[in-house]
């Protein structure tokens, strides 16, 4: 066996090919050392083989962990997934002894909730499944395993409630997964793009989350969840726009306050998209929309600014976007310094230097802060882009242009489908059997 394996693999020092003999019998053992738990291999193979308390041949036959691996073609995969291969008496057995390096039951970081489960999904599939199963203790929970990526061979799991799931969506997901041809998949976001199939999309149509409570709630609603090895994020599909505007805490806190928070989120998403465009169109086209005091003070503070309003907007937005981008990529210790320098000093200085007006500073900070109110970061990211087309329209057409632009966005949202489900549907649950008028044809 070892000779054949040597031929299968490239020259690698971490490939262990041993031949052992204890007088009674001779076995060949093959495994990739870094992929396997050395202790487990010692406990299951080397020690019992050497001690001879029980005939090793007997052990191989009786203990279920040893599985017969006759098919030579599968050896390579088995070894790469952390199995050890044992040949005894001409029969090849495989033993699963994989060592998985992952973060130990991590805390939620991306979507944190003050009161609510603090544990996030793990990068290890079994631990993630443990979390989900302990939150969703139902016999109907179905778990399917698939593999994606011709090189990376990433295991993924499709989790759903077999009674509640929408069969058309499930079929759709299964066919999508089997038809994906790609070499490597490393992150949930990558899988998300492959599942959607569209390369250029403006809005996320599947929800990526790290929270087991969000996942269990989604499963209970009949949605399909895809877990992925070595990624602590799961994909929930189908998703609607409103799922993205919804934080898990909305279920945990006082009713009226959470309603108010939801209202606040929708207001801020509207502000962050339209405010720069409205600033341009009101300042340059319809100043009578301001109250007269405000009009005079804006005119006064703008009188030092040599550029037209849209250049001013571009200067400030460029500054704030670079600032946000820099503070995400920077290590935490430097991050706060960057925000202080950028936010306070640059903003103040830019205004004193007469590069931007003081109102523009307020507009920019409202835009940035309102953007962070969106609870799911993928939508927050997508929304950051939406203001720019509106700004362009506002430069040429003023307020009516902005209104048309917002209308176009809403139309686009209504046109979107997430796995065949309307993305922007507010009212009414869709029964799996009934179709939606104008629904896109599923391929």
């Amino acid at each position: 066996m070892n000779e054949r394996i040597r031929l299968m693999f490239a020259e690698a020092v971490d490939m262990k090919l041993e031949e052992l003999s204890n007088g009674e019998m001779t076995i060949q053992v093959a495994y990739i050392a870094p992929m396997c738990e050395e202790k487990m291999i010692a406990d299951f193979i080397f020690v019992p083989f050497a001690k001879r308390e029980q005939p090793y041949r007997e052990q191989l036959r009786t203990i279920v962990e040893y599985k017969v691996a006759d098919d030579v073609a599968k050896w390579r995969d088995l070894l790469l997934r952390g199995n050890a291969l044992i040949e005894a008496d001409g029969i090849v057995y495989s033993l699963y002894a994989a060592r998985i390096i992952c973060n130990e039951s991590p805390q939620t970081q991306v979507e944190s909730a003050i009161q609510g489960p603090q544990l996030a999904l793990s990068e290890d599939l079994t631990k993630s499944l443990n979390l989900i199963r302990s939150m969703y203790q139902s016999a109907d929970l179905s778990v399917e395993e698939h593999t994606i990526g011709s090189v990376s061979k990433t295991p993924i799991m499709v989790v759903f409630d077999q009674r509640r799931v929408d069969p058309t969506i499930l079929d759709n997901v299964r066919t999508k997964i089997t038809t994906i041809h790609v070499e490597m998949v490393n992150a949930a976001g990558e899988l998300d793009k492959l599942l959607i199939g569209k390369r250029k999309h403006l809005f996320p149509t599947v929800l990526i989350t790290e929270r087991p409570d969000r996942i269990s709630k989604a499963i209970a609603k009949g949605k399909v969840v895809i877990l992925m090895k070595s990624s602590m994020f799961a994909i929930i599909l189908p998703a609607t726009f409103f799922d993205f505007m919804h934080a898990v805490e909305d279920h945990y806190e006082a009713f009226w306050m959470t309603r108010f928070l939801i209202f606040l989120r929708y207001t801020s998403i509207l502000l962050t998209i339209t405010l720069p465009a409205l600033y341009i169109s009101i300042v340059s086209y319809n100043p009578e929309l301001f109250r007269v005091q405000l009009a005079f003070s804006i005119a006064g503070s703008r009188s030092a600014v040599p550029y037209p309003s849209f250049i001013e907007v571009f200067i400030m937005l460029f500054m704030i976007e670079t600032l946000i981008e820099a503070s995400i990529r920077l290590p935490r210790y430097i991050g706060s310094t960057a925000t202080t320098v950028g936010g306070l000093i640059l903003g103040q200085a830019a205004q004193q230097a007469g590069l931007v007006s003081s109102i523009m500073i307020i507009v920019t900070s409202v835009v940035a802060i309102a953007n962070f109110v969106i609870p799911v970061s993928s939508l927050s990211f997508a929304v950051r882009f939406l203001k720019y087309p509106l700004i362009i329209i506002a430069i040429f057409f003023g307020i009516s242009g902005v209104a048309v632009g917002v209308f176009v966005y809403i139309t686009y949202l209504c046109n979107l489908r997430s796995f065949g489900k309307p993305y922007f549907r507010i009212f009414g649950r869709l029964q799996p059997t009934e179709g939606d008028i104008g629904q896109v044809k599923l391929k």
Binding site: S284, Y285, P287, A295, F296, F396, F397
Partner: protein, 366 residues
């Protein structure tokens, strides 16, 4: 490739459709008040005075700065066009909430001015119109010391944010033009008089017909008119009781009227119900019966109101809209038929005012 190219060309050309509307706020000159006077010159009968605000980032009391521009022109539109060449920025009437009509112009013919205001896109319908005495140019020269930004004092006097005076009648452009064109309803305008170099008095009202001022109401009559026509609270009633003057603040007032035909005569009967709190009253009133005072106040009020109504009737104007009510209640096939019937009726109509004053309290706690 060809399609993409076409799309780009289309997008670029579409971008130019907006035209030249783009003008930054600091490149605009905000007109905060416009005055229109009549000159003696036959060729250039209009004198236009614009109060232009000089914006400043700091707004504090007394820091208001404004620039006055005056021009004589043959028409208002032409004058404004000419004035553009006197200033360095684009004139914007978007914040012009006050239009002052010189008394002389208002006494001759205001219809040309109204035409111009209604046609211009950037003049808002909520702008207030007033008659300036002696003329608009002099009035715009007044600089109130407390003013935070140009035009503020006049905005506040008329708007609901500042004072609520029963003597100040507010007439927005939309209302004025409605009254100027509706048959059976005549316009009225407040009159602004400069008090000194630093303040204004607005307590008289001019009654106009479709062309010019017919009569002027005194401050007391202005208040009475507001009470009768608009049930205006925050006002007062006045009367005498046993030779002492009684003044009461109105807390609630309801005024309505019915028009009935009795024989050949049309009777317009007002019913005015009000609740008042005494402000000026005899000393030992608290323990007395109030019914007699209420009766006396009601009688005094009825008499004053009837006098005012007859005075307005004799002047031949109809600011209450009796004619409009008549037209609404009388069917006619021809649009003008009802109105033509009304015209001879109005001068002969009889007025009756039935006031009912209810004293809520003396304003004192014993």
């Amino acid at each position: 490739m060809r399609n993409v190219f076409c799309c780009v060309i289309l997008l670029v050309t579409v971008c130019f459709l907006g035209g030249c509307g783009f003008k930054d706020i600091d490149k605009r000159f905000f007109v905060v008040a416009t005055g229109i006077d009549k000159t003696d010159n036959e060729q250039k009968p209009y004198r236009i005075t614009l109060q232009l605000a000089l914006p400043s980032p700091k707004i504090e009391p007394g820091a208001s700065k404004a620039q006055l521009e005056t021009i004589d022109a043959s028409s208002i539109a032409e004058g404004v066009r000419m004035l553009k060449s006197h200033v360095d920025k684009e004139l914007d009437f978007g914040h012009c909430k006050i239009f002052l009509v010189g008394e002389e112009l208002a006494r001759s013919d205001y219809s040309g001015m109204l035409q111009w205001m209604r046609r211009r896109r950037d003049i808002q319908s909520v702008a207030d119109i007033a008659v300036a005495k002696p003329d608009a140019q002099a009035l715009l020269g007044v600089k109130p010391v407390s003013e935070r930004y140009p035009g503020n004092t006049l905005f506040l006097s008329f708007g609901a944010d500042g004072t609520d005076s029963p003597y100040t009648y507010v007439q927005p452009l939309s209302e004025f033009s409605k009254r100027a064109f509706e048959k059976g309803l005549d316009p009225l305008l407040p009159i602004i008089i400069p008090d000194s170099k630093e303040s204004y008095i607005i307590n008289r009202t001019a009654l106009l017909n479709k062309n010019k001022i017919i009569m002027v109401l005194s401050p007391e009559e202005t208040q009475l008119f507001a009470q009768l026509a608009e049930s205006y609270p925050k006002s007062s009633v006045r009367g005498t009781y046993e030779d002492t003057q009684v003044v009461a603040a109105v807390s609630d007032i309801r005024s309505k009227y019915r028009m009935t035909t009795q024989g050949a005569k049309t009777v317009i009967a007002f019913k005015v119900k009000m609740s008042v709190v005494l402000e000026d009253a005899p000393e030992n009133l608290y323990k007395q019966e109030w019914a007699s005072i209420e009766k006396k106040l009601s009688e005094d009020y009825s008499r004053q109101a009837e006098e005012l109504l007859r005075k307005i009737q004799q002047a031949g104007v109809d600011p209450f809209g009796f004619g409009l009510r008549y037209r609404a209640n009388h069917h006619s096939n021809n649009p003008n038929e009802a109105y033509e019937k009304w015209l001879p009726i109005y001068p002969g109509a009889d007025f009756k005012v039935n006031a009912k004053v209810n004293i809520e309290g003396t304003g004192l706690i014993q």
